[in-house]
């Protein structure tokens, strides 16, 4: 099965570094480094971080442009 790929867009003005996305990501795609949320390019577009982000700071673009629902 081919892996889905996602592109992560982080709105740094909205992000409060609460760390929910860092912990909830199943592939450890996020890291908080020097008071900034960093993305490591391993996104599989499961959309968990986008759905649980309390500050609407994350938007995931999928390869095929579809909003893949999970769970």
């Amino acid at each position: 099965m081919a892996k889905k790929k996602g592109t992560v867009h982080i709105d740094h003005n909205r992000c409060k570094l609460c760390g929910i996305c860092v912990s909830i990501c199943p592939v450890q795609n996020y890291k908080i480094n020097q008071h900034k949320l960093k993305e490591l390019g391993k996104c599989i577009a499961c959309m968990q971080c986008e759905r649980y982000c309390p500050d609407m700071a994350l938007i995931i673009d999928t390869k095929d442009g579809k909003d893949t629902p999970t769970g």
Binding site: G19, P54, I59
Partner: protein
């Protein structure tokens, strides 16, 4: 090309970021409310959001709709007044548990008696977060707060029994169960007559910190482990979430 989040049209996006603490669940409820409004295609003109005072009370100001930020505990009377004045409006109350059940408890009792057609979304974080973490009517037994340093000894209020006594709609969910919470809100918005959706929300700064949680994620996992979905029952136990129609 960045995908546009269409439900954000219900929010005043220039006011973001919200002023809530990092890890607070109020943002999740705000987002879910917008998604429910979008799913039901609520018109921007003709929907009113009312809120009281407190952390959760700030949420009405973020909506790109007509919104009222009222006195402490008086969100329901104002909402009832709006509904009486113009029956065509969809009136939604979004407020906290201290506001709706503590200070405004009497109003909830009488609104459910009159069965006014308003939808109440209660952000129940079981704490008075804005004033530093005093215990609220929904704080669980044994929970450690600022005013109950050796554990809460008072039983929490039974909202379910209060609402069901007048045959109104009651639903309970948590911020971890996003789909379920959204379903609760959609059903509550669809219901004709008074509907009450209680969303259990994490407060990490003033509640979770004292109870030994490190961050908001741990509190979300606490909800995952401790609450079970039960949609086929007429009465929910304290550790169950579901819809009691």
């Amino acid at each position: 090309m960045t995908r546009k989040l269409t439900y954000l049209n219900y929010l005043k996006q220039d006011l973001l970021p919200t002023q809530w603490c990092p890890g607070c669940g109020n943002g999740i409820v705000l987002k879910l409310a917008c998604q429910s409004l979008e799913e039901l295609n609520f018109p921007k003109k003709g929907t009113v959001v009312v809120s009281g005072i407190g952390c959760a009370g700030r949420s009405a100001g973020f909506f790109n709709l007509d919104s009222v930020h009222t006195a402490h505990g008086r969100a329901i009377p104002v909402a009832e007044g709006i509904k009486l004045a113009n029956e065509k409006l969809n009136v939604i109350v979004i407020s906290g548990d201290g506001d709706l059940l503590g200070i405004g408890g009497n109003h909830l009792l009488h609104a459910s008696r009159r069965n006014t057609d308003i939808s109440i979304i209660c952000i129940a974080n079981a704490i008075y977060g804005m004033t530093g973490g005093q215990y609220s009517p929904t704080t669980e037994l044994g929970s450690k707060t600022l005013t109950t340093p050796s554990g809460n000894t008072d039983t929490p209020i039974d909202v379910q029994a209060l609402i069901k006594a007048h045959n109104c709609f009651y639903a309970r969910s948590t911020t971890y169960h996003l789909k379920h919470a959204m379903k609760c809100m959609v059903e509550a918005l669809k219901h004709r007559g008074l509907s009450f959706a209680e969303i259990k929300t994490q407060c990490i700064t003033n509640d979770g910190r004292r109870r030994g949680f490190k961050n908001g994620y741990e509190m979300l996992m606490y909800y995952k482990d401790n609450y079970k979905i039960n949609n086929n029952s007429n009465e929910l136990k304290h550790n169950e979430i579901g819809i009691v129609g």
